[in-house]
Point group: C2
Chain length 392, copies 2
Amino acid sequence: MIEPLKLGVIGLGRAFTLMLPTFTADPRIQLTAASDPRADARERFAHEFNAKSFEDAEALCADPDLSAVYIASPHQFHVAHVKLAAKYGKHALVEKPMALSVAECQEMIAAAREANITLLVGHSHSFDLPYLRARAMIRSGAYGHVRMINALNFTDFLYRPRRPEELDTSQGGGVVFSQAAHQVDIVRLLAQAKATSIRAFTGNWDAARSTEGAYSAQIKFADGSFASLTYSGYAHFDTDEFMGWWGELGQGRDGEASYGRARQNLLKASSVTEEIALKNARAYGTSGSDAFRIDGEIAHNHFGLVVASCEHADLRPLPHGVMVYGDKARHLDELPAPKIPRAEVVDELYAAAISGTPPLHSGEWGLATLEICLAILEAAKTGQEVELNNQV
Amino acid sequence: MIEPLKLGVIGLGRAFTLMLPTFTADPRIQLTAASDPRADARERFAHEFNAKSFEDAEALCADPDLSAVYIASPHQFHVAHVKLAAKYGKHALVEKPMALSVAECQEMIAAAREANITLLVGHSHSFDLPYLRARAMIRSGAYGHVRMINALNFTDFLYRPRRPEELDTSQGGGVVFSQAAHQVDIVRLLAQAKATSIRAFTGNWDAARSTEGAYSAQIKFADGSFASLTYSGYAHFDTDEFMGWWGELGQGRDGEASYGRARQNLLKASSVTEEIALKNARAYGTSGSDAFRIDGEIAHNHFGLVVASCEHADLRPLPHGVMVYGDKARHLDELPAPKIPRAEVVDELYAAAISGTPPLHSGEWGLATLEICLAILEAAKTGQEVELNNQV
């Protein structure tokens, strides 16, 4: 018998919908309460999970039934909501990006430490099992040292429906906060040394949606290795083509039928209000769709092309395992298809909350990733290499 | 009736073998003479083409029958051989890399100008038709401005048989001189502005073959666009997997059967002498194989994954055309399979020599590419961004 973790959810938006298949399928989680400003989302949640709902995040955190909260509110509220969780002694799983500044991350870490709660940052794609497996392979030493990492992801991120703040960098908008947080996390996970500096370009190419929609960054590591990270959220080419048309969420995709869909769909919105309505149609609520539910066979989540070049092998995480291109032969180190998507998040959260196991994706981990995201923005703005001081 | 260009060849090594299928199949070329220090190569050439042969490059250049010379000698001799061609009034097609320093390139350009001969640099893969087609599409304006270019090529370059100087950077060895010369050329071809600066890492990961075997470089352009270029010659993963297993030379490949072949083959050589013998077995000579001959169907040459991201399309040159990923639809802009591989080189050489048409791949073009290659080496060594001053 598993004692489920009683979880409260702050924010029933898009991030929550992406974690919902996990929370509903994993017996280690009991969805116990939620808070959201949208009444229809609260009502649906209360009804669907026979659970409590609150308009206010503090009221949720104060609920003595809960032992942990999942903070999936917009980025700019993460710091306040983690502090609320700490105030009421609840473990906190906070979505990426952890916050909008290094100082905010430090406040969150301090608040968690003082309250003796566990702080985890995620889901990010560095939780995905194929990346964790590749990390374990690298750490085994079987393939020699990692020398270079390449990560390339082309998506239509910028043309999905957005709230205005998602297109405003000062409020945590743009692909550096939202998407580099994944890619940097994965690269850090595979590297064998601390990152020491960042060089980067960012692209802001659509005046109607003015924020960073693309970037190209180089990371230097203390052991002399380096990484190249490229992301385009303006893309027409889709790197899922290199992943056998398995999507980011582990869903099977029809590359032909889905071509250009985001741009076409966005044409339906002729105002900010209409675009927010489109966005909410992908969120959770009585008027929202069930489009986030994953039917049929699933594969592991992924974040595009990643190749870690070791002395004696290139390792390429894929939706069904890790392709090991060795000196003499190549083989797929196969991973069983997941029964529950993103169960790795619950693995860490549950172990931390129930057994006190320190999580990999700790506050310090999240801060280190955010520092690199901020360095990408600064390096691109100033044209200078940016040194890092908060890596773990 | 086509008046063929009477061509002399300086250096019957590997580069020559890669151009041989072109020269023998293209009626615009008559292989008239060759020079090489290896007697067996000279004998085979004289016999196979009923042509003259010389031990000495100057004697070849002095031959009044020739109107042009193809300089495929080791990199460090390019400057001397171009000067010889100029001295005797022969047009010069010089292999990449053009030379080992900017000053050498300037000497070559000056010598050609004074002698009123045409100087071309190539073959480089920027001659390949799919890249030229992508350039034309970009210049048409149909897809908006190029914002970002990504190029990624993973090969076993460093484990192919090498002469010692090919593994000595000071003599033009390593992948920056030999391979960046291709990748930089392609990226420059697709960009719509001059490159202004370079940031780079290089990898020198095998003490037994100590030279740059990998690099990751960022190019900044004057119009605010940027490019990311990655090459690994230590690779186990092979980017031909993304090209439908069509190889760099347009040959069909069996990815399974050829896996790991370079590293395995190199195990046969236990000394420098034995490795040179392996190398010569791939060159031209009576003891050399015919392995360079391409049988069966061919596709266009390529240099790995290249994606040019324009405002309204991502363009991806492929062995059979250019994949156009547009706003609404994607399609392959198909190019007929080549009848003669690398005929584009003869197009430029013939037009320049016969009609005086200024070549795209001029001395100034080659200098600009070499400047970037040298900047990659300098940027990696110093850790500093390197400004460019010789771009065209």
